[in-house]
Amino acid sequence: MQVGENRTTLLLLNAAPWVAFLAVVVVFGVLSDRFLTIQNFMNILTQSSHIAIMAIGITFVLLTAGIDLSVGAIMYVAVAVLALFLGGIPVVIAFPLVGLIGVALGAMNGYFVIKLRGQHPFIVTLATLFILRGAAIFLTDTRMVFVEESVMSLGRTSYFGVPWAIWVFAVVFVIAWIVLRETPFGRQIYAVGQDPTAAAKAGINVPRILFSVYCICGFLAAVGGLVSIAQVAAASSTFGFQIEFPVIAAAVLGGTSLFGGRGGVVGTVFGAVLIQTVQSGLVMTNATPYIYPLVTAVIIFLAVLIDGLRTSILDTLGRRKIRVEEIA
């Protein structure tokens, strides 16, 4: 009926995340004169880097309509192994080994997800979450673990004035972006997420794709653990506990659908940075810490609300395929 009106609303809804981001920056910029500085921007990126890296990993899984709750547990196992067993080994060798552990644990998730087809990955990775957290507690004996000075120094290193964590973040982002946009593998991930049956009929090896995305997610969870531990130097038994929720939230905030086939890493990075920007702004304006989760929750809620409205408007616009640019 009011197609024209709907189209305008749609445009507004599409622009909403950017408007929200701008609004956040402007509001905090006015409230605090330290907010709009290069230094603060760097801080925001550094602090959000481990969440962003893990969220990029989980984006791959979400694109196949899966989910991975075990990322926090993988992160903890990876860091525990690094601290306890790879102490004297130079980081150039230790880090790839930790990455391999991430891949192996992701592969375990992938194996169970494929083997137990018909069961939602939610419950499968919930089980591995328990198992891996148990394994990490076994390794650390619930004690605090510390990493070598060589790892910690990475957390303080900068190249060309940009901290190490941001470089890792940037490299992961660029590779993930290229893989998803420019390779057949990336397109197959989207295809599997949109309709696994159709994808299988088109000759895509669906189990192989599913297996790969969980491996990628496991790997990036381990990388996230490394980036995080380089900054904080020590891990208690709650390291990575329930971090899966902000990680999933970052991806969803960036417009990646939980039902597969829609979204991308640009949005995810945007989501992770936005969450951290808001938190940083709240710190600078001396807001009480208890309000942080409230504000973060409201922002994610609004983002998903907008996404829901957009979908229903698209539905009313008729069956015609209308390509709506993702936030990407």
């Binding site: 419950i123 089980a127 939230a249």
Partner: protein, 351 residues
């Protein structure tokens, strides 16, 4: 994997009568609705000789009292899972209801401090908090077209923070103590030697079972879980039914909050924070499917019983936290594997 071990006789080509009989028995066992009860029984019998204390009166009593709060909230979760939803906000509800209810009843400056109405109003406050949050979740899912996992995830984050903030505004410490004796009895008291919480939990079980198995509302929920479009076409008020499923989940979480708050004798914003995944695990172990359309209250009772029995036995065995986590994870995987097997057997039977 025990799954593979159990599968071997199914795949054998040799049809020796004994093997066949064994296979049939195994299949019947796996297809049984009460499998989780059998497994709990067998598990109990295995553990008994190792730690005889588990069968002692005090240990059985502990299993029971540990089980009740988890059971009530898991029953609410069952309703939501049947319509293919999920409710992660229950721990937020538990925390929020706890501090709101306590702020009304506490003798350290509660809103109705010392009044005769304090307890009834306090209890109503618990239920209203749960019902409203559940209603809001349901409204967002049905009216605003939002995925349940995200709505309730943000609910969990928001309520967790809000409960701490609310406590700060009402109490100098991190919890609200000084609750009336009569209220505390709901969580920790006994009536004729039987915990009052048991009466509450039984009432919830009976009502929930009746709703799901005997009423049209129950049928609607299953129909929606199996195929929402078909249900809608058949005249089921889909949105309304989903909304009420979330309300029930919220109210059940509020009742759990009452039991836990009563037992601790304080309202605290970190109440129940760590049991979220246990709740979902218990329901799924019982046999309720995350995909919707399948689930029963009695299954959830079995799932909770199993999880709590494992917890209790591991505690008695002096196991480390590591074993507790690993066993829980293994049990979930086993439950999921059994369900996958069940579907395979059924598919073969019909095909």
């Amino acid at each position: 994997m025990p799954i593979d071990a159990a599968e071997t006789p199914v795949d054998t080509k040799v049809e020796i009568p004994k093997v066949r009989a064994f296979r049939r028995l195994l299949e019947r066992l796996i297809l049984s609705e009460y499998l989780v009860f059998y497994i709990t029984g067998v598990y109990f019998l295995i553990v008994w000789p190792i730690v005889p204390e588990i069968a002692s009166f005090s240990s059985l009593r502990n299993i029971l009292t540990d089980m009740l709060p988890l059971l009530v909230v898991a029953i609410g979760q069952t309703f939501v899972l049947i319509v293919a939803g999920i409710d992660l906000s229950v721990t937020g509800v538990i925390a929020m209801a706890s501090v709101v209810g306590a702020s009304i009843m506490t003798s350290d400056g509660g809103y109705l401090q010392g009044s005769a109405l304090a307890i009834p109003v306090g209890i109503i406050a618990f239920l209203v908090v749960g019902g409203l949050i559940g209603g809001f979740n349901g409204w967002c899912v049905t009216r605003l077209n939002m995925p349940p996992i995200i709505v309730t995830l943000t609910g969990m984050m928001f309520l967790g923070g809000a409960a701490i903030w609310f406590t700060k505004a009402h109490s100098p410490t991190s919890s609200i103590a000084g609750l009336p004796r009569a209220f505390v009895a709901i969580g920790g008291g006994t009536f004729a030697g039987v915990p009052i919480a048991l009466f509450v939990a039984i009432a919830v079980v009976v009502v929930a079972h009746f709703l799901l198995s005997q009423t049209v509302f129950g049928r609607w929920l299953y129909a929606i879980g199996i195929n929402p479009k078909a249900a809608k076409v058949s005249g089921v008020p889909v949105d309304k039914a989903i909304l009420w499923a979330f309300v029930i989940s919220g109210v059940c979480a509020a009742i759990t909050s009452m039991l836990l708050t009563g037992r601790l004798e304080t309202g605290t914003p970190v109440l129940g924070q760590r049991i979220l995944l246990d709740i979902i695990a218990a329901v799924v172990i019982g046999g309720t499917s995350l995909a919707g359309g399948k689930g029963k209250i009695i299954w959830t009772v079995g799932g909770v019983l199993f999880l709590v029995t494992i917890d209790a036995s591991l505690k008695l065995l002096g196991s480390s936290l590591f074993i507790v986590f690993a066993v829980k994870g293994g049990v979930i995987l086993l439950a999921v594997g059994l369900d996958a097997m069940r579907q395979r057997i059924l598919a073969r039977g019909s095909g």
